[in-house]
């Protein structure tokens, strides 16, 4: 297939995934902002939402320091701001532009999801949303990614177009999970454990909620929420679709399918397998011992490197 087509498909699904992740981040920030906070340790969940979304620099330039970030600014910046290249609205715009460029490679069902949600997005006001409107908006965004993944899964031929589409979603998803961990790793560290107050519980639960894993947690561990188990679930648990391990299982499979179809392995495949192996051969104790923060930072770097390799090898 055309390199540009593969590139558009790959980015199309990355942007759909990104929009979904942003919606979850806003969801969780909103929830945490209702939670009573002890006055001696004030936290700013809205600032940390911006940090997790990975656009702190642009935000600060526009609205001032993160510590003073407020709900209105963060919601409008992450959800609607056209000057923020990663706002949900821009994700939808770029996704649709990509989709238009490769309409011939999409099934009509996939196009329909992208186009109709792009049309629906315009029906939401872009500022001063009431809480209910915001909730409805976030639900709509999450539903769009579900519909898109569903359409992809149900209607697309299993060939390189499909694999590039899925590869994009997994790269983006791994990046998002890793960034959530990166921003929140300190609440998972052992020294915080003895605090164990209600605030910590909310923090841990909110991490799980931001990747829709609170229910899954209980099913997997049959235990109360503990920080090292949260980390285990999100990093190493292969059964958990948003864990780093699961993303890399899927990513490796997509890349191997591509290599199989083209009859040629390359650096992207090797890099994906290396990271995949690193995620299978570790225990969470190991990771905590050698430093959770370092592990996550390294993962984010490697994930970016893989994205660059995929681009180099196939998309240009």
């Amino acid at each position: 297939m055309l390199s540009r087509t593969a590139e558009n498909l790959y980015w199309l699904s990355r942007y759909v995934e990104r929009a979904d992740c942003l919606a979850r981040i806003l969801d969780v920030a909103q929830r945490l902002s209702y939670t009573p906070v002890p006055t001696e340790a004030p936290t700013n969940e809205w600032g940390s939402a911006v940090l997790t979304a990975g656009c702190a620099e642009e935000f600060v330039a526009r609205h001032g320091p993160l510590e003073e970030a407020n709900e209105d600014h963060v919601v409008s910046f992450l959800a609607f701001d056209l000057d923020n290249p990663s706002s949900i609205r821009n994700c939808f715009e770029v996704a649709r532009t990509n989709a238009r460029s490769v309409r011939t490679a999409l099934t009509s069902e996939m196009w329909d999801v992208i186009n109709s949600s792009w049309i629906e997005l315009r029906s939401f006001p872009d500022k001063a949303l009431s809480r209910e409107e915001l909730a409805r908006f976030l639900a709509f965004v999450k539903e769009t990614s579900l519909r898109f993944d569903g359409a992809t899964f149900r209607t697309m031929l299993r060939n390189d177009a499909y694999w590039f589409t899925r590869a994009g979603a997994h790269v983006e998803r791994a990046d998002n999970t890793a960034r959530i961990l990166d921003v929140k790793y300190h609440v998972l560290l052992p020294e915080q454990e003895h605090v164990g107050g209600p605030l910590d519980y909310f923090q841990w639960a909110s991490i799980l909620r931001s990747v829709s894993a609170l229910t899954a947690f209980h099913w997997v561990y049959r235990d109360s929420v503990k920080p090292w188990l949260v980390a285990d679930l999100l990093i190493l648990n292969r059964a958990m679709p948003r864990s780093l391990a699961s993303c890399y299982d899927n990513l490796s499979r997509c890349l191997d399918d591509i290599a199989g179809a083209y009859g040629r392995q390359g650096p992207a495949q090797r890099l994906a397998r290396t990271t995949q192996a690193r995620l299978s051969n570790r225990t969470i104790e190991d990771i905590f011992q050698s430093g959770l923060h370092e592990f996550i930072s390294e993962f984010i770097t490697d994930n970016n490197k893989l994205a660059a390799e995929i681009t180099e090898q196939y998309l240009v």
Binding site: S3, R4, A6, R100, R103, N115, V316
Partner: protein, 471 residues
């Protein structure tokens, strides 16, 4: 102006036979139902994304072309006459272009004045003495037809560069089949869906080298082009790649596309890009849409471009006025489809006639298209007429004039119900190395405003499904 010829109803109120059953149906179905179906059609069009862009309009980046749900009917017998005339016309166009870039017998014989070739901005000296694969230049033609009475179909315009609109012909039919299955049960409508197969067969037949599976691609300027939807639609129907300039490169005079598996050779490019933009090395150096080296690959005979480079020399409105003579010259036949009588303002007697009759005539720029830059005398006010008078005096050769034709009307759904609106017709004629293919029908464009004669979509015109009845 007298009442225009209506394709459904005669002046005495009787209904023509071909429209009989449609008319009965129309008078039976309540207006609200029709209106609801119209909205449904609009919803589907919007949802599928069948939109087009009007340049220079802000905030209206993607617009829908209004779709009229009342079909236009053409009888089998009428279509038979039309298609013979179209084939003849396109054959002559091809022979003319081949001659213009070859021996120029038409100029030597004095049929067409030399400056219409040499001073034509669409003339491509690069094509002089070159042979194009299979000696076909206009592989895809759109010939605009208007009707003024039961028997007369005029050719209004030849489009020999990159005519668009065929996706509407196909999508309009799909929508009609979805919305009005009962109507199709009552009529034997000749299908149009074969167009995609015909186009692919045509393009493949034109490949420069042998081999069973020539690689065909459609070249688009990209998603911001007004006809982008059509480009992607056609690529999808044909099952070929839709490429942009940056997807292609030329090495050793061979064209390749960049794929995830490395370079792949391209044999036939159906380009939807004007000559000016296809190759920055050969034409406009500032074009970022084209492919450097494409022209030289083309002239080396390693790739076929459809339509050929330089076809614009045959489709401006000044050359148009010579088409009847061109047909006689090459084919030794009388034109089967007449031209609209045309005054060439480049000729002093014609110019003075036109200047004296501006309020009755339609004046068009020789190289204009899309309904821009024209004067419809009977609809214009004094000031507009005076502006055109000045333009004409300043640069007469840039204009032609025609009588204001009473274009035929067809029943159309408007706010108040069904009313007659003026229409034209653009059939698409495919010329391969093997034969000519025309699917029955074409794109009917309709001026949605009462009394308006301008059917161009850029001017608010709409479209209709066109039914050629099988016997």
């Amino acid at each position: 102006m007298r009442r225009a010829f209506d394709e459904m109803s005669c002046e005495d109120g009787t209904v023509r036979q071909a429209y009989d059953s449609l008319n009965r149906w129309l008078s039976k179905v309540p207006h609200e139902i029709l209106d609801q179906r119209r909205k449904e059609a609009e919803f589907i069009f919007r949802r599928i994304g069948i939109t087009f862009a009007v340049y220079g309009e802000q905030n209206a980046q993607e617009r829908l072309i209004p779709f009229d749900i009342v079909p236009r009917i053409i009888t089998n017998e009428e279509w038979g006459r039309l298609s013979k005339g179209l084939e003849q016309r396109v054959k002559a166009l091809n022979m003319y272009i081949s001659d213009v870039y070859g021996k120029r017998e038409v100029l030597k014989a004095g049929i067409v004045p030399e400056d219409l070739v040499y001073q034509n901005p669409a003339f491509r000296p690069e094509m002089n003495g070159q042979r194009v694969p299979h000696n076909v230049y206009v592989h895809i033609a759109g010939i605009d037809i208007v009707r003024t009475d039961p028997d007369t179909f005029y050719v209004l315009e030849d489009n020999a560069r990159t005519p668009s609109g065929v996706s509407y012909m196909l999508e309009n039919r799909e929508i009609m089949l979805r919305l009005f299955p009962e109507l199709f049960a009552q009529h034997r409508v000749a299908p149009v869906e074969k167009y995609a197969d015909d186009l692919l067969a045509t393009l493949r037949s034109l490949a420069p080298r042998g081999g069973s599976e020539p690689n065909v691609a459609i070249l688009t300027p990209g998603i911001y082009n007004s006809a982008y939807y059509e480009h992607s639609f056609l690529a999808d129907k044909l099952g070929v790649d839709l490429v942009e300039g940056r997807d292609l490169f030329v090495k050793d005079n061979v064209v390749f596309m960049r794929t995830t598996e490395g370079p792949k050779r391209v044999d036939v490019i159906y380009r939807r890009l004007d000559d000016d933009f296809i190759d920055p090395l050969a034409f406009r150096p500032d074009s970022v849409l084209g492919v450097p080296g494409l022209m030289s690959a083309y002239l080396s005979g390693n790739v076929t471009l459809t339509n050929a480079v330089g076809t614009g020399v045959a489709d401006d409105k000044a050359v148009y006025s010579y088409m009847p003579d061109i047909i006689r010259f090459y084919l030794g036949e009388e034109p089967l489809l007449p031209n609209v009588p045309t005054w060439r303002c480049r000729e002093p007697e014609h110019l003075s006639y036109v200047l004296d009759h501006l309020s009755e005539l339609v004046v068009k720029e020789v190289h204009g298209s899309g309904g821009y830059g024209m004067l419809v005398g009977p609809m214009a006010d004094k000031a507009q007429i005076e502006i055109f008078r000045a333009k004409l005096k300043h640069d007469p050769a840039n204009f032609i004039a025609q009588p204001t034709l009473a274009l035929s009307t067809c029943p159309t759904l408007v706010e108040k119900g069904i009313a007659p609106r003026h229409v034209d017709l653009r059939p698409f004629i495919l010329t391969g190395s093997d034969k000519v293919r025309i699917v029955p029908g074409g794109l009917t464009r309709v001026a949605m405003k009462e009394g308006s004669l301008v059917v161009n979509s850029s001017q608010g015109g709409g479209t209709k499904d066109t039914w050629v009845l099988d016997a």
